[in-house]
């Protein structure tokens, strides 16, 4: 604060409350006194307090003065209007409009006064709406980003995603085999053009530290199909995929900025990916990291080894652009025709495989759309609940103003005019509540963004845009109408003459009573539905946490190693590398077990492979048996802490190339093929019945690792030693005795000693992976709990308000009853039975709907929650309990009514 200026907030307050004519002087004099008399004599904090007290007192005085002045002016307006009406007939159009604008201004002023006169009521109503709108805003902004914001591609809604489905795995999506993709390109007519991609990780070496990059390999004109132009240089063209072409790469804007400092001279230079040289030909525009977080784009060229076919290589994801006038079903029909033709030619490989097309948007947001919609539905219920609550409050407010309304109507105000006045008040509340709610929602959105521990896909942006604000405005208007319309009509239904004759204290009309009761029932119903939904979500979450993971999650360090084919061309070199690495890791002090696998528990990548179990021939036409399989090193189960149920682990010899094939299977495998017998010593071979593959002997059985399959439907799984399937990409698992992160440096040193060019990536602990994988479930579960508590509170407050109000209104009746000798306890009982009935109806409806929702949810949620009888019961008991408690507090007041006072007051 310099010189004699008030703090900004104080000035703002005065600016809002003190009329312009008086403001400068008031402000200046206050500042003068503050600076000259108060600041030098008091402690800073006390001086500040003094200033605020003065400011608030000033504000209050000026507001009250404004209201008083307004009121006398209103009286003038009413009188003038009456005179006007008496003297003039047949209002012209312009006058009508003029009249409307004046009336509107008058409504606003009157509403403001009414609301300010009842600060407690206004605050309660405002907060209720704010909570409803706030929750809605948060979730809506997420939903908007997922469902409505245009995709960052040209005419993104014409883009379709193409893939194949395997009925063997419940129709789960899988990539398209390159020859099939070629057929699509050739024969599909409904699409302007199609392209495909395949995501891989590559090591970038050369200048600077080696780095692991996410690379999108493109086939066809991917950029053209998406309608994206390069920021600089050129994009990959379909011809670049030809095997004899020079290798080219397009760098993402983010990588260009991060690694090369946005140097435009990068174009034309070469970079080294997995020992291969690529020429950079272009920079992608900012934010383009298709499909989600790609760093680099290179053409996909397939060199098919002699004698091998690509028909089984389901590695490509397709994207196409719909031709004008073509619909998605037409594309699907086209795909089905092609698939049928392929299946006729290659029945064995193509049994049970279908092709599918869906909007690209649906595919991009496949994981989050359904849960988000569910949460949004719950949030909408909470908003409706808030509306019902506010409606109840408004009804109470309006009926305390019956005298005022009756006077106005007898002075000649039409009912529609009064309703408009009441609705204006509701709207003002709605807008004020909406504004506060928007602030709450913004805070919530930011909290969620901060709370999400993973990197979001580049195409997903959760920013607020005008569209969202507009939608919220619309929502606010709808909210105001919903909670205002019934009370406004209800309150104006009474006959003013009768009301005035009775001195304005007539009890609420029958309709009003019915309206109020239905509102309570509606509130209870919605609260029960929210509670039931939350119950299922929480049950799912708890079940999820209780699943035996099948391994020990603590003190487990993981990291990924990828061996480029150019440095490690032979299987022997790969096996040797991992064997050496394992030996050195195991020798580290503080490491109690080290191994490697192709798929970590909790990891999402699963490899499936068809197999034939000895003595079990599938029926003709039946699809081949398929199992998930993992390549591991010995001691894998020791390192992860997975119990070996019978048999033994692999020996060191068994991981050598060419060793007799051995396998360890999981429990599920045993249950599936030998439900009653022992699996040890049994055999299977990879491929169909006519495959020439050697028999594989089962030497051990391990517990199911549920982390591989969070839905809990353990699938048959096979573990094979690294020598049987030398993989170039393995995840290390290191069991430590202390903090696993302390082993990171020793691990890096060992890697550098073996091969300094190899980056070690995705270094993290199992606990972190778990957290990353489970955060949606965790956040979702807690969001539900928050909404449930809000819903329960809203319902309780609603019931409390209604009962207090009813008790207050019926004080006279109660007084007379007590005077006539009614038992005071009977009075409480009367009130409680009344609310009990309403709660019961609400709980009954809510539970019925809730049970239906629970069944639907348990299927889609996490596949974990099984609806039980106990849950609706618990919900019903909780709701009834809360309802009765909320009613009991005011009901006690009914009991202590003093009959003499009650009758005299009237």
């Amino acid at each position: 604060m310099t010189g004699r200026e008030l703090p900004r907030s104080a000035r703002l307050l005065l600016r809002l409350t003190v009329p312009r004519t008086a403001r400068t002087v008031v402000e200046a004099e206050l500042a003068e006194e503050y600076a000259d008399d108060i600041l030098p004599r008091r402690l800073p904090l006390r001086a500040r307090l003094w200033l605020w007290r003065e400011c608030l007192a000033l504000a209050t005085a000026f507001i009250i003065a404004a209201i008083r002045r307004g009121r006398s002016r209103d009286a003038d307006v009413i009188l003038a209007a009456r005179r006007y009406r008496r003297t003039s007939r047949g209002w012209g159009e312009s006058r009508e409009r003029d009249g409307f604008a004046t009336a509107f201004r008058h409504d606003i002023r009157h509403g403001l006064r009414t609301l300010l006169k009842r600060p407690a009521f206004t605050a309660a109503a405002l907060l209720t709406i704010a909570v409803g709108i706030g929750a809605n805003t948060t979730i809506y902004s997420l939903l908007h980003a997922v469902m409505m914001r245009p995709l960052p591609f040209t005419e993104g809604d014409r883009l379709v995603f193409l893939c194949e489905h395997d009925s063997e795995y419940g129709g789960s999506s899988m990539g398209v085999a390159p020859p099939v993709f070629d057929l699509w390109q050739e024969r599909l007519t409904g699409l302007e053009d199609i392209a495909a991609w395949h995501s891989v990780d590559r090591n970038l070496t050369g200048e600077g530290e080696p780095e692991r990059l996410r690379v999108t390999r493109t086939m066809g004109d991917l950029f053209g199909v998406l309608g994206i132009a390069p920021e600089r240089g050129w994009f990959i063209s379909p011809d670049d995929s030809a095997p004899d072409q020079a290798r080219v790469a397009v760098v993402s804007h983010a990588l260009w900025q991060r690694r090369w400092g946005s140097d435009p001279a990068l174009i034309g230079q070469t970079i080294t990916l997995d020992e291969q040289i690529f020429e950079v030909i272009g920079i992608a525009p900012e934010g383009f990291r298709f499909p989600d977080r790609a760093d680099l784009f290179i053409p996909l060229s397939l060199e098919v080894p002699e004698g091998e076919s690509l028909w089984n290589a389901h590695i490509l994801w397709g994207v196409g652009r719909l031709r004008d006038g073509t619909t998605l079903p037409e594309v699907r029909t086209g795909l089905n025709t092609i698939t049928a033709a392929i299946a006729a030619e290659r029945p064995e490989e193509y049994a049970g495989i279908t092709a599918g097309a869906q909007p690209l948007r649906t595919w991009l947001y496949r994981d989050i759309k359904a849960p988000l919609l569910l949460v949004y539905a719950v949030v909408c219920l909470v908003l409706l609940l808030a509306c019902a609550n506010t409606a109840n409050l408004m009804l109470a407010l309006f009926s305390t103003r019956q005298t005022e309304l009756a006077v106005r109507s007898s002075l000649g105000a039409r009912r529609s005019r009064i309703i408009r006045q009441l609705l204006t008040e509701c709207m003002m509340l709605a807008f004020a509540g909406g504004f506060v709610g928007y602030l709450i929602g913004e805070a919530g959105r930011r909290l969620i963004l901060v709370g999400i521990p993973i990197e979001l896909p580049a195409h997903l942006s959760f920013t607020t845009d005008p569209g969202i604000v507009l939608s919220i405005l619309l929502l606010v208007v709808v909210t105001g109408i919903i909670f205002g319309i019934a009370p406004a009509f209800g309150a104006t239904r009474t006959d003013p003459a009768r009301l005035l004759a009775r001195g304005g204290t007539a009890s609420a009309s029958l309709q009003q009573g019915r309206l109020r009761r239905s509102l309570v029932v509606a509130e209870v119903t919605m609260a029960v539905i929210v509670l039931a939904t939350t119950g299922v979500a929480m049950q799912g979450y708890l079940n999820f946490r209780e699943i035996e993971p099948g391994y020990e999650q603590d003190n487990l360090l993981t990291a990924t190693v990828f061996l480029p084919t150019f440095s490690y061309p032979t299987d022997q070199e790969k096996v040797d590398f991992f064997t050496t690495l394992q030996q050195r890791l195991q020798a580290l002090p503080g490491v109690s077990g080290a191994s490697a696998t192709t798929g970590l528990p909790e990891g999402r990548q699963l490899w499936g492979r068809s197999l034939t179990v000895e003595g079990r021939a599938p029926e003709p036409g039946e699809p081949a048996d398929i199992a998930y399989f993992w390549v591991i090193q010995p001691d894998y189960f020791l390192a992860t802490g997975t119990p070996l149920l019978s048999g033994r682990d692999f020996t060191a010899d068994e991981q050598a190339l060419g060793a007799p094939p051995r396998a360890i299977v999981n429990e599920r495998f045993v249950r599936q093929y030998w439900p009653e017998g022992d699996a040890l010593g049994r055999r299977f071979h990879w491929g169909g019945t006519d495959s020439e593959a050697p028999w594989v002997e089962i030497v051990g059985v391990v517990a199911d690792i549920t982390g591989h399959d969070p839905t809990g439907q353990h699938r048959a799984g096979v573990f094979i030693p690294i020598g049987a399937y030398p993989s170039d990409r393995m995840h290390l698992v290191v069991r430590t005795s202390g903090d696993p992160l302390e082993m990171v440096e020793p691990l890096k040193r060992i890697m550098a000693a073996i091969d300094p060019n190899l980056p070690l990536f995705e270094i993290t602990t199992m606990a972190e992976i778990l957290q990353r994988e489970h955060w949606p479930i965790l956040i979702g579960a807690w969001a539900f709990v928050v909404f449930a508590v809000v819903a329960l509170l809203l319902a309780a407050v609603g019931i409390y308000a209604i009962i207090s109000y009813t008790v207050a209104r019926r004080q006279r009746e109660m007084g007379i009853r007590i005077a006539l000798g009614a038992d005071r306890r009977a009075i409480t009982r009367l009130v409680l039975i009344r609310i009990g009935k309403m709660t019961f109806v609400g709980v009954a409806i809510g539970t019925t709907v809730g049970i239906a929702i629970m069944f639907a949810l348990s299927r889609m949620l996490f596949g974990l929650a099984t609806p039980t009888v106990a849950l609706p019961l618990v919900v019903a008991v909780v709701m009834t309990g809360v309802g009765l408690l909320a009613a009991w507090l005011p009901a006690r007041r009914a009991r202590s009514v003093n009959p003499v006072d009650a009758v005299r007051e009237e």
């Binding site: 003190v18 004519t21 008031v26 007192a57 005085a61």
Partner: protein, 110 residues
């Protein structure tokens, strides 16, 4: 006096304070004057809104002027009581005096 605006007690206090302060009557000083003379604390807002109201009724007039001395740029609003204000004060005093008169024996012990 037929058409005199009736004024309330606080309004009287404010106008009397202005008269006592002569040329030096502005917001804060008026407030202080009332506080010192009556021994009760007065809300700043009440003073300002009363000043506004009295001016609106035509009982006071005000003029803005810079504060004297080194306080450059400080605006003050100085008030003076108008003839109508004087009439209102006189009428209020008369009314009170009439009401008081003849009650001395009863009030003697106070």
């Amino acid at each position: 006096m037929g058409n005199v605006t009736p004024i309330g007690e606080f309004e009287q206090l404010v106008m009397l304070a202005i008269m006592r302060l002569r040329d030096e009557a502005y917001g804060v000083v008026i407030k202080r004057e009332i506080e010192e003379c009556t021994g009760r604390s007065v809300s700043r807002g009440a003073v300002y809104t009363t000043l506004d109201r009295l001016e609106e009724k035509g009982l006071l007039s005000s003029s803005k002027a810079d504060a004297p001395g080194p306080r450059t740029g400080m605006v003050r609003r100085y008030f003076t009581v108008e003839p109508d204000g004087l009439a209102a004060l006189a009428s209020a005093r008369n009314a009170l005096q009439t009401m008081w008169s003849g009650l001395e024996p009863q009030l003697g012990e106070l």
